[in-house]
Structures are given as structure tokens and as C-alpha cells.
């Protein structure tokens, strides 16, 4: 079968503690191997930067929210257009690219895996329909359980095993990889136009609190021995003063004992939840407080949710936040209530450096990454396309690597930003090893994908490899940020499962990736109790019959199934 040798690579592979070592990488049948024969194809990396393929643990790439974004925004689809070629389908869109541009765009940057961060179970079939059309990259998705009637009813009756049984069923029904919680309880309250105010504010009509929802789902997550921890979007997102809720939320999972070698909770796009002040007028950064907590505690991980100036399409299961955004900005507003399960909203907006609000948000994301000492604890994300589109990752990398680049950016940002944040005082500049952690290795570790060969280049790993046209030995990333950005934007080579899919930043092949999902099991008595309740809810409240609800095998292409359950 196919063999490939990458010679003279300068490799950063943090999972295997390889830090800029000049070495060869051997590939056989899509996997990394110790050595290969003489007949292999050879790529001479000639001292260039080599990373494992990029992994994005939190992005919005497929499903009903993304597509309503496209439907609402023909203005966005007019951007980044590229006609079809013999190899590629047409590209359209910047914040909400079409399915083809979505896959090509990731691959061009050396990314080979991306996880959709919010799948409503009722609409999961749609998510997988789009997965099927996104070329090249491997995919997985996180399933929403935040305001689910099955979950809340079981919690009210203090039936943890039933919560776990439903999580197991819901993951299978949606073909999901992990448990996503968005503004716990808020989606149900939003069903009647309300929200929950904090962790102990009971969900109307259900008599459970957001704190309980988080706690029970975290425990159920470990009972089921899931590869990923719960993945939490905190309450009160997007409100000045919300950092206190965030710090309180951090504590909820402090004593959860993860069954696997990973965090007990991942808290996502924390930039949007690190705000001090009492209103827009006195809003300030509490990124330093959050980072202080991160430096003292080891049970949690976060991702940046970095803001990128320019156009964005915000999309989230946090329905009330999107209503507030749309009202504040007089912007277009799509809301998407999902019966018995959750809420959602989509609002296009634009981030301006002249606005100190946006300036503070921009600074917070960077503070989180730079003030938290351990690079493994903070992933680089933009919460695509909420903070900005993923195609800007190279730009974010340069901000993390270069103080000079930050200063250049700061010159254009509203002055008040620097009274309300500490960004101007931070000297830290990340290196290539840190960036490898923040853009692939930690993503894989946090998701539980290391054993699936993602985010590293050890023997047996998937041969997903990025070669960038940049020699770490000869490049000063603290100064030559334009060169760094250009190299990361268009990989010299992206190799997926051992095959070259990008050369010199151009797509050369479009294989279809895999879809990862988790099939887990709970004790049968708990499963039976859960099914009795579930059947009742389908009979009385769902608009779809039970038999037509679960995503069928036909929709999951190249599936890889993790099987797990109660120990």
C-alpha cells in the first residue's frame, strides 16, 4: 500500500514531547510508522515546520444554526468566492461558508479534524447531512442536553442513573461524541421568553437549577465513562459582571473525579464569560481573575473564544443571548426553539476596534491564553463564527506569538480598552511548541481523541500531518508575524490519512473524512425507567414519532464508534 517519508522535518509533537526536533516521519497505509522501505514517496521538508494535523474542539460547521446563517446572509455568501475546478466544488462565504469551503478552508490551514459544538438531537439528522458534504476533514459533534425535559425530570426525581441512561440514548440518537451544555436551564425558560439569572435560579415549571443540571450531567458523564468531559457554555454569557457566575461554575465540578486522563469539565469560549463591571458603560476585563483561577486549579480546561475584528455570525443554543444581541444592535434575528430540548439563535454582527466593548473582548481572549501558565489548559478557538471565522486562526496565532504584533493591533483599538484590561502589560510570547498544544494536541487530549490517533505523530497515530512553509530555526516569530501568518494560512502540505490533500495551499484531493460518535450504556433498570418516560414524552409532547426520531445509519459516513459505559 501507500508509503510516504517526510524527511528533514522540524517536528513539534507535544503529546510525545517532541519539541522542534529535526527528524523524518514515516507513513504507511495512513498511519505513522517507525520506518518504511526504500520505495516510499518522499517529501523533503527541508527544515520546515511540521505539526500534527490541526484539531478544532469547538466550532460551528454544520447543522440548522449554520444553515439559517447562510439563508439569512447572502451578503456573506458573496464573499470568498472561488469557482469550481476539476478537483474542487465552488467556495462561497466567509463567516458561514458553504460545506465545500468549510472543509477546504480547514484543510488549507493544515487542519484535519473539527468538532461541531452544538447538535440539537431533534435536528441531528441535518447536522449529519452537512457532515456528509464537508470534504476532507474528520468530524464529530457535541450533543445538547442543557434544557432537555428528560434530563430535568430525572434530576428533579434525583435519578442520576436515569440521567445517564438518557445521555447514552441521546448520544446514540444524535450520533454525538459528547455532552454539550449551553446556558443550562435557560433554553427552557426561553420557551416562554424568560431566562435563568444564575446557577441557583430555578428553571420555570421544572424546579431544577442550572447548578443541578451541570452537576448531574457531569456525574452522568463520568458514570458513562465518556471520552470527553461535559462541555459547558456558562450561564449569563455576554453580560457585564458575568465573571462571578463563571468562577462559581468552575467550582461546581471541582470534586468530580474524571474516569479518564482528562479534565472534569471543559468551559468553552470563556472570553464571553470573563466580563467585569455592572453595565456596558463600566464593563471591564476579568480575564486576569479567570486566569488566576486556572493557575490554581487542575480540574478544568477552557478555550479562548477569541474575537476577530470584522464580520461575524453569532450562533448559539443560548436563545436569550441572541435576542439581546439583536435588540442591542438592531440586527437581524433568527430564533430556533426546539421542542422539549433547547433554544437557539443566530445574529450577524460586526466587531469594531473603535468600540471599547469589542476591544475589551479582543483583549480578554488573549489574556486568558497568555496569563494562564499551562498551555494545555487553554485552547485557541474563535468559537467560529461567533468570535470570528476560523480562517483567522493564523492571525490569532501571531497575536499569541508576538508582542510586537499585539502592539500593532492595539494601536488601532479604542484607548479605554487598555484602562479596562491588562493586555498592554503582558510580555509573554508563545513558542511553536505552545502553539502546537493550543491548536491540535490539547484539543485532541481534551476531546479524548488521542487514542484515536489525533493531535500527535506517535507510531500508530493517523497520518494527519501539516507542513508549513516556514523554517522555525530561521524565523523569529516575535517579529516576522506576517510571514508566520502567511505560512499558517496556506499549508505547504496537508496530509490526511497519509494522502496529500493540500500542496502549496491548494487542494489536491478531496477524500471524505470520518464521523466519530459514542455508543454508551447505562444499567438496564435505569434504561427501562428512562425509556418509559421517553415513550410517554413522545406520545404526548413530541411532534415526531419515536420511530422516526433517531439518526439512521444511512446518515453517518465512515463512522468510528467509541463504545463505553458503566464500569
Amino acid at each position: 500500500m501507500s508509503e510516504l517519508l517526510i524527511k528533514n522535518a522540524v517536528v513539534y509533537d507535544p503529546i510525545n514531547k517532541v519539541n522542534g526536533e529535526k527528524m523524518d516521519i514515516a507513513v504507511k497505509d495512513g498511519k505513522i510508522v517507525d520506518s518504511i522501505g526504500n520505495g516510499a514517496d518522499v517529501i523533503d521538508a527541508a527544515g520546515r515546520l511540521v505539526y500534527p494535523g490541526g484539531v478544532d474542539a469547538h466550532t460551528h460547521i454544520a447543522g440548522s444554526k449554520v444553515n439559517i446563517g447562510r439563508i439569512m446572509r447572502p451578503d456573506d455568501s458573496r464573499l470568498n468566492n472561488k469557482p469550481r475546478t476539476k478537483i474542487t466544488r465552488p467556495y462561497t462565504g466567509y463567516t458561514v461558508p458553504n460545506v465545500y469551503a468549510m472543509g477546504y478552508g480547514y484543510a488549507e490551514m493544515g487542519y484535519t479534524t473539527a468538532f461541531e459544538a452544538a447538535i440539537p438531537i431533534l435536528k441531528a439528522r441535518h447536522t449529519h447531512e452537512e457532515f456528509e458534504e464537508i470534504p476532507i476533514i474528520d468530524k464529530g459533534g457535541l450533543t445538547l442536553f442543557s434544557s432537555n425535559w428528560m434530563v430535568m425530570d430525572a434530576i428533579r426525581e434525583d435519578d442520576l442513573d436515569r440521567v445517564a441512561a438518557y445521555v447514552a440514548w441521546g448520544l446514540e440518537a444524535s450520533r454525538g461524541w459528547g455532552v454539550k451544555i449551553v446556558n443550562p436551564g435557560g433554553g427552557e425558560a426561553w420557551g416562554f421568553g424568560k431566562n435563568v439569572a444564575g446557577l441557583d435560579d430555578p428553571v420555570p415549571n421544572f424546579e431544577v437549577t442550572p447548578r443541578q443540571i451541570i452537576r448531574y450531567l457531569a456525574e452522568a458523564n463520568e458514570k458513562l465513562n465518556l471520552p470527553h468531559s461535559i462541555h459547558l457554555h456558562c450561564n449569563n454569557l455576554g453580560k457585564p459582571g458575568n465573571y462571578t457566575t463563571t468562577l462559581e461554575t468552575f467550582d461546581i465540578c471541582k470534586d468530580i473525579k474524571p474516569k479518564r486522563d482528562r479534565q472534569a469539565v471543559h468551559l468553552t469560549h470563556i472570553q464571553f464569560n470573563s466580563w467585569g463591571g455592572n453595565h456596558w458603560g463600566d464593563m471591564e476585563s476579568k480575564g486576569d481573575e479567570i486566569a488566576k483561577y486556572m493557575n490554581k486549579n487542575d480540574h478544568l480546561t477552557i478555550d479562548m473564544g477569541q474575537l476577530v475584528f470584522g464580520s461575524a455570525t453569532t450562533m448559539t443554543a443560548d436563545g436569550p443571548v441572541q435576542y439581546a444581541n439583536a435588540k442591542l444592535l438592531k440586527a437581524r434575528w433568527a430564533n430556533g426553539d426546539v421542542e422539549l430540548e433547547d433554544a437557539s439563535g443566530v445574529t450577524p454582527l460586526s466587531y469594531h476596534p473603535e468600540s471599547y466593548i469589542h476591544g475589551i473582548m479582543w483583549a480578554i481572549g488573549l489574556e486568558l491564553a497568555l496569563l494562564t501558565e499551562d498551555p494545555w489548559k487553554v485552547l485557541m478557538t474563535t468559537d467560529h463564527p461567533n468570535g470570528g471565522p476560523y480562517v483567522n486562526y493564523p492571525d490569532v496565532v501571531t497575536l499569541l506569538m508576538s508582542k510586537k504584533k499585539r502592539e500593532e493591533a492595539m494601536a488601532k483599538i479604542a484607548d479605554l480598552t487598555f484602562e479596562r484590561t491588562s493586555i498592554a502589560t503582558i510580555d509573554r510570547e508563545l513558542d511553536w511548541y505552545d502553539i502546537a498544544i493550543k491548536t491540535r494536541s490539547a484539543h485532541s487530549k481534551i476531546l479524548g481523541m488521542v487514542e484515536y490517533g489525533k493531535g500527535h505523530l506517535g507510531v500508530g497515530a493517523d497520518a494527519d500531518i501539516a507542513i508549513y512553509d516556514l523554517k522555525p530555526d530561521e524565523t523569529d516569530s516575535t517579529i516576522e508575524y506576517e510571514k508566520v501568518k502567511a505560512a499558517l494560512r496556506r499549508a505547504a502540505y496537508t496530509i490526511k490519512d497519509g494522502a496529500i490533500v493540500v500542496k502549496d495551499g491548494e487542494i489536491t484531493a478531496t477524500p471524505m473524512g470520518r464521523t466519530y460518535w459514542v455508543k454508551s450504556t447505562a444499567p438496564s433498570d435505569a434504561h427501562d425507567r428512562m425509556m418509559a418516560d421517553l415513550k410517554m414524552k413522545f406520545k404526548n409532547y413530541y411532534s415526531v414519532n419515536f420511530a422516526n426520531y433517531m439518526v439512521q445509519d444511512e446518515y453517518v459516513h465512515n463512522p468510528v464508534i467509541e463504545e463505553c459505559g458503566y464500569a
Binding site: 447562510r70 476539476k86 447531512e129 422539549l340 404526548n540 409532547y541 413530541y542
Partner: protein
């Protein structure tokens, strides 16, 4: 054999609780469906074999599938501006193939929304759309407004399953828990059973919606004594009822989208709905017709970035409604062939467009004879999706479901026909 949980391939309700009795590979009985849905599943007058004719005034002659497919491919390749229209009564799997074929021949990709809820899409582009799934409305809505739509006739089970009689968690008395308002130019059967019937003057929906916005904003002083044929008193009273709802829902149809002001009506209806969210929860949703016209918009959007009226001739999708939709181009006499699948241009296009279609080669892919057949030069019969073929469709609220296959037939699927046309097109063009 009784097949349960069958999904109906008729309208955008996608009722998924049908039970169909099949014996010897024939549908014997259809339970729980409305009359229209049952009639479609039972089957009727299908086209038995592929047919072709040179002139539209000639009689059709039966031909082989290969001959019809090869000729269809030749026409598409020879055309400078082929229209590829319909895509509403077919499965998402076909639409994906359709996009690929349109890319290959540089065609104009358009779906039936063009003459239906196309203006709704424009309204969404202007203002967004606060909406939800039909079960959300069934479980919560206590104020229900039907505006310019008549579900009794067009979506017969909508009221019992989702909107009026349905009992839900917060609406356990069903009809008794709800105030039903119908706004229409005539007293339809739906209006007959409403609590309030509001007769709006034809073409004046925008005015009435604007008056509601003023009343909701407590600015009734600017409202004249009568607006669009409705008294100020009634407008103020209904606005108060909307604000007093626990959960309100507006279902709207072509009475709003295809009347004077078109997309502006949707723009302001969405604005009214958004305004109401300052006081309570309110949603709005179009009543989609063809069972999978919603899917056409979804598939086209994720494949191309646009919902309809997509010109593929530049190699990259180009969208400019008013310029690139079927009727814009037919009336400009710009199109030189038409490929019609899963929709009936012949029945629904204006006369001027039909006059153009009469002059250009028309290819029809459809199980059934319809007015488009009368204008066709090539007719390729296919399976009835959702009865003879399984696959994907989107309900009017964008919930995606998998249609079931009930019986086996020898006809090819639309997908097989599209695959063969695509292969032939590539062969003629000499591309791999």
C-alpha cells in the same frame, strides 16, 4: 403487512404517523392520512414509460430510458442558459445531484419557492426569523394567528397535529387553551372555525401589519379609524391579545407572500413578531407547500450559500433575485432549455413564462403527468419518493426526517436518472 410510522410525501407537514397496509407489493389502505396525502400514497395515473417528441405539437413516442437520458444530456450541454427547476417534491439526495449537474452544465438552479415562499426568504434576509419547531408551538402556543393561509384545505392535519386542536404540555386542553385568529381576504374554512376572523382588504396586508406594530408599541394614536378594512378598535384589541399571549405564533401563507408588497410583508411580519418578544414569546413560520420544498432551500443553502435563483454559469454560484430566478429569466427570453423535476412549472408559472417555455426544449423528470408534460419534449418517469424510495426531507419547520419506502417498483429513482445524465454530460464534454 401494516407499515407504521410512515411519513407522508404530500405537504410540508410531513405527518409521520401514517399506517399503510401493503399486500403483494401494492398499497391497499392508508390510515391516519388526510385525503390528499392518502391519494398520493395510493397512487394514480403515473407516466408509464419515457417519451420524446421533436415538436411540442407532435404526439409523444415511447423511447428507452437510455435514449431519453442521452437526449436530455445533449440538450443540457448544447444550451447556453439551461434552467433546472422544481426540486420540491423530491428528496434531498436528488437535490445534491442536481447542484452537481447544474455546476457541470452552468445551469440556473431554482426551486418552487420562486413562485411561493421566495419572498419569505427575502424577508428573512432583511430581518431574520424568530421561529421554532412545530412541537414547540403545540406545547406552548395559546395565541395562534393564521395569516393568508388556509390549512383546512392546504395542510389538512396541521391543526390537529400542531396548531389548533393539538394538546401539549402547557396546552393540555388543546383547542380550549387557544385563541385562534385568522387574517384573510375571504372567509375561508379555516376562518370559519376561528375565534376571530379579520377580513383584510386585498393587497393591504402591509398596512394592517404596520398598524399592529403601532398598536403593540402603544402608539395607537397614529392609527386611522380604519386600516386595510379593519377597524382601529379591532386592531388595538388584537394587539393587546398578542401581547397578553403566553406564547404566540403566526403561521403565514401565500396570501401574504404573493400579494402586493410581497417580501416587504414578510419583513414587517417578522418585525412585528420581534417587537412582540419584548412583551412575551412570539414566533412566526411559513406554511410550506410541497413536502420537501424546505429541504430544497436547506440543501441549496449549504451547497451554494443561497436558497434559490442560483446562476451557476460563472463556475461559482451567483444569486440575485429579480435577475436570476426562473421567471425573471424566462420573461427576458434568456433561457434556452428547461429541466423540470419535482415541481410543476406548467401549472404555476405566469403566461409570459409559459410562452417562452413553449419555444424551448423542456425535459421533465416526474412520476406523474401534469401541465408541464404538455410542454415537454422529453419525459422521464421515476419512482415516487417517500412511497417507492426512502430518503431525506425537511418539514416546514426545518426538522429533517427520513421518508420510508413502502413498495418496490421497476422505475428508476430521480437520483439514478440524474447520475446517468451527469455521466453522459461529462462524456459529451469530454471531462472525467
Amino acid at each position: 403487512m401494516l407499515i407504521k410510522d410512515v411519513i407522508c410525501p404530500f405537504c410540508g407537514c410531513l405527518c409521520d404517523d401514517l399506517a399503510v397496509e401493503v399486500e403483494n407489493n401494492k398499497v391497499i389502505d392508508v390510515k391516519h392520512a388526510c385525503k390528499i396525502g392518502a391519494a398520493k400514497i395510493r397512487g394514480h395515473n403515473r407516466i408509464e414509460a419515457p417519451m420524446m417528441r421533436e415538436s411540442k405539437t407532435d404526439e409523444f413516442r415511447e423511447v428507452s430510458y437510455d435514449e431519453a437520458i442521452n437526449e436530455a444530456a445533449r440538450i443540457l450541454v448544447d444550451s447556453k442558459r439551461p434552467l433546472m427547476y422544481g426540486w420540491a417534491s423530491c428528496l434531498c439526495e436528488m437535490m445534491k445531484k442536481g447542484v452537481l449537474l447544474a455546476e457541470e452544465v452552468g445551469g440556473i438552479l431554482d426551486n418552487t419557492a420562486s413562485v411561493c415562499h421566495g419572498p419569505s426568504a427575502l424577508g428573512v434576509q432583511e430581518k431574520g426569523i424568530p421561529t421554532g419547531t412545530l412541537g414547540q408551538f403545540a406545547n406552548r402556543a395559546d395565541v395562534v394567528i393564521f395569516w393568508g393561509c388556509n390549512p383546512v384545505q392546504a395542510h389538512p392535519r396541521h391543526m390537529s397535529r400542531y396548531s389548533v386542536f393539538a394538546k401539549g404540555f402547557f396546552t393540555n386542553k388543546g383547542r380550549k387553551d387557544r385563541k385562534i385568529v385568522v387574517v384573510d381576504v375571504r372567509k375561508t374554512d379555516t376562518a370559519e372555525m376561528a375565534d376571530e376572523y379579520v377580513q383584510v382588504n386585498p393587497g393591504e396586508d402591509y398596512k394592517l401589519l404596520a398598524a399592529f406594530r403601532a398598536a403593540v408599541a402603544d402608539k395607537a394614536d397614529v392609527i386611522p379609524d380604519t386600516v386595510a378594512g379593519v377597524s382601529k378598535e379591532k386592531i388595538v384589541e388584537l394587539a393587546a391579545a398578542m401581547k397578553g399571549a403566553k406564547y404566540g405564533i403566526v403561521y403565514f401563507g401565500m396570501g401574504v407572500t404573493q400579494t402586493r408588497c410581497k417580501y416587504k410583508n414578510i419583513d414587517i411580519a417578522v418585525s412585528l413578531t420581534t417587537d412582540l418578544n419584548a412583551y412575551t414569546k412570539f414566533s412566526i413560520i411559513p406554511m410550506r407547500g410541497h413536502y420537501n420544498v424546505t429541504g430544497a432551500g436547506q440543501v441549496f443553502a449549504w451547497e451554494t450559500g443561497y436558497v434559490n435563483g442560483i446562476d451557476m454559469s460563472r463556475g461559482v454560484p451567483y444569486y440575485n433575485p429579480g435577475e436570476t430566478c426562473s421567471n425573471d429569466m424566462l420573461m427576458r427570453e434568456e433561457l434556452d432549455s428547461a429541466f423540470v423535476i419535482g415541481g410543476d412549472a406548467g401549472a404555476h408559472f405566469p403566461a409570459q413564462s409559459i410562452a417562452r417555455m413553449a419555444k424551448i426544449p423542456v425535459i421533465q423528470v416526474d412520476p406523474f403527468h401534469n401541465p408541464t408534460t404538455e410542454m415537454a419534449n422529453i419525459v422521464i418517469p421515476v419512482k415516487v419518493s417517500g412511497v417507492e424510495l426512502a430518503g431525506t426531507a425537511y418539514r416546514m419547520d426545518s426538522v429533517c426526517l427520513r421518508m420510508r419506502k413502502l413498495v418496490d417498483v421497476d422505475f428508476p429513482s430521480d437520483e439514478e436518472v440524474l447520475d446517468k445524465i451527469l455521466a453522459k454530460v461529462k462524456e459529451i464534454k469530454g471531462v472525467s
